[in-house]
């Protein structure tokens, strides 16, 4: 092989960064761009009234005024605060309850019917009740979010702790491990991928909780922005709320997947 041939083959093996990126994300980008284009064309050409659908360009244009007036920031901040507090409380409490249920048969018997029952219940339907009880401020929203997030967290924590691989328990036991050591060396790390999956499920449910609770009555928040825009038939502003929520959901979930890959690398196959 001549030097020239080696150089050529090396060049072939390392395509440019752009090509690598394109081969990895090309189809995703293409599909999103196409979807937006169809949306734009449909909104301009086929939907007669602006009261029914806003085009992507109108939505982008609507962000400017909402941002400059400071309205969007207030809505975003309010919803974010409700989400963070509700989600955080649910995670801490949910993991603790999951441990409790997994560790004692009596606790499991006492709590299991509540957990299974409430997990299956569409608890968002109770949002108006919580607003009645706790007022239109952020506390009622935090309760709704926490209630939606907590059950997958409890169930996954408990499942993970119960599915400790017995062959690994036996292995550390053969070295004389105590119950405590078995828990920290085997049960807990084995449960982590399950716990993380529960926390990831909770993100989507928590975001739904924020919006739905705000729809039923709030002073501010993205759900309130959506509700108020719908009442005034301001479609571009309504879609700004939806888009911000969608982006938040995507960012949170993918951030979580990233974190998961680093914290529990053995959970991936």
């Amino acid at each position: 092989m001549s030097i020239d041939a080696i150089q050529r083959s090396e060049r072939r093996e390392s395509p440019g960064l752009l090509r690598k990126w394109a081969s990895r994300h090309g189809w995703a980008v293409g599909s999103v761009v196409t979807g937006l284009a169809i949306w734009e064309i449909a909104a301009r050409g086929f939907v007669a009234s602006k009261l029914f659908l806003a085009s992507p360009s109108q939505i982008v244009a609507a962000i400017g005024p909402l941002w400059r007036s400071g309205e969007l920031q207030v809505h975003f901040y309010t919803s974010a605060l409700e989400f963070v507090l509700g989600y955080g409380a649910a995670c801490i409490l949910g993991i603790a309850l999951g441990f409790l249920i997994a560790s004692s048969r009596r606790c499991k018997q006492a709590l299991q019917p509540w957990v299974s029952g409430l997990y299956a219940t569409p608890t968002v339907a109770l949002a108006p009740l919580f607003i009645l009880w706790f007022g239109v401020g952020i506390f009622s929203k935090i309760v709704v979010v926490a209630l939606l997030v907590i059950f997958p967290v409890i169930i996954n924590t408990e499942t993970g702790l119960r599915q400790t691989p017995q062959n690994l328990v036996e292995t550390v036991r053969s070295f004389g491990a105590s119950r405590r050591q078995i828990f920290y060396m085997v049960s807990l790390p084995a449960a982590l991928p399950f716990i993380f999956a529960g926390l990831r499920l909770g993100i989507g449910r928590g975001l739904i909780g924020v919006v739905v609770a705000e729809l039923f009555g709030a002073r501010a928040g993205l759900g309130q922005l959506i509700q108020q825009s719908a009442e005034t038939f301001n479609m571009p502003a309504l879609f700004v709320g939806v888009v911000v929520l969608a982006v938040a959901g995507i960012v949170l979930t993918s951030g979580f997947v990233w974190l998961e890959k680093r914290l529990v690398p053995w959970g991936q196959d």
């Binding site: 292995t171 053969s174 053995w266």
Partner: protein, 261 residues
């Protein structure tokens, strides 16, 4: 035959409910001996090993190691499992070191031993790999190193090579002998494969089934160190043949039973 007795088994019996898995096992094993246990499925050989390991309790009789009766797992024994059972969230180094970690030992000597064992099993440079990044053969080497890392008096091996392909298995047998020659630990090795038992051992314990019992002990007087070529000598073949004839009837019976299930 041997200078000092390491393990004494007297009147060992094990029942699971109505099923008598082991009946009246009596034997003793000398320090530094390599003992293999062969027998058909259901002869209780693995149960025997687990009782010696303290993972199972005896229904009657005792097993004593250096005169002390065994009543649970301990660091004087190292167990090599059939599946490698490595903790997937620990790298190779901390998998090998888990025995000393459980005992709370963090001395430079222990670290040096762990490092030395990784070298001995041919995994130097893989300290910070995770189990899923290694092949089956490499993982079994880690399994062995983990058991040796507690510096046990007695090494208990439960069909450790049965999950490996035939070639890897032969290599692992010679590797095991090489490692064993270095420290000459007392070894109890359970296997299905007669040629593996003959190749490795000083004595082969032949177990029979229904109930599980020690049927016969065959001394293997082949010279050491042994190379794989020894498997083709007439003496070796004759020994394998003799053991096979001892268990043939039982193996046929167990195979028919398994198919009937």
């Amino acid at each position: 035959m041997e200078a000092s007795v390491k393990l004494t088994v007297s009147g060992l019996t094990k029942r699971f409910g109505d099923l008598e898995v082991l009946r009246q096992i009596n034997t003793s094993i000398g320090k530094g001996e390599f003992i293999s246990i062969v027998g058909p499925s259901g002869c209780g050989k693995t149960t025997f090993l687990r009782i010696v390991g303290g993972l199972e309790s005896a229904s009657a009789g005792t097993v004593s190691l250096d005169g002390r009766v065994i009543d649970g797992p301990g660091r004087d024994r190292g167990f090599v499992f059939q599946q490698d059972n490595l903790l997937p969230w620990r790298d190779i180094l901390s998998n090998v070191g888990i025995g000393s970690e459980i005992a709370g030992i963090r001395t430079p000597e222990q670290r040096a031993l762990t490092q030395h064992l990784l070298e001995l099993v041919g995994l130097k440079g893989f300290e910070h790999y995770y189990p899923r990044q290694l092949s089956g053969g490499m993982r079994q080497r880690v399994n062995l190193a983990r058991a040796l890392a507690v510096n046990p008096d007695l090494l208990l091996m439960d069909e450790p090579f049965s999950a490996l392909d035939a070639q890897t298995r032969e290599i692992m047998q010679t590797e095991l002998l090489r490692i064993w020659e270095e420290g000459r630990k007392t070894v109890l090795f359970v296997t299905h494969q007669i040629d593996e038992a003959v190749f490795l051992s000083d004595r082969v314990f032949v177990f029979a089934r229904r109930p599980g019992r020690l049927q016969e002990i065959i001394g293997i007087d082949l010279p050491r160190p042994r190379a794989l070529a020894i498997k083709r000598t007439p003496e070796f073949v004759a020994l394998v043949d003799r053991i096979w004839k001892l268990i043939e009837h039982d193996v046929r019976a167990s195979v028919i039973e398994e198919h009937a299930l």
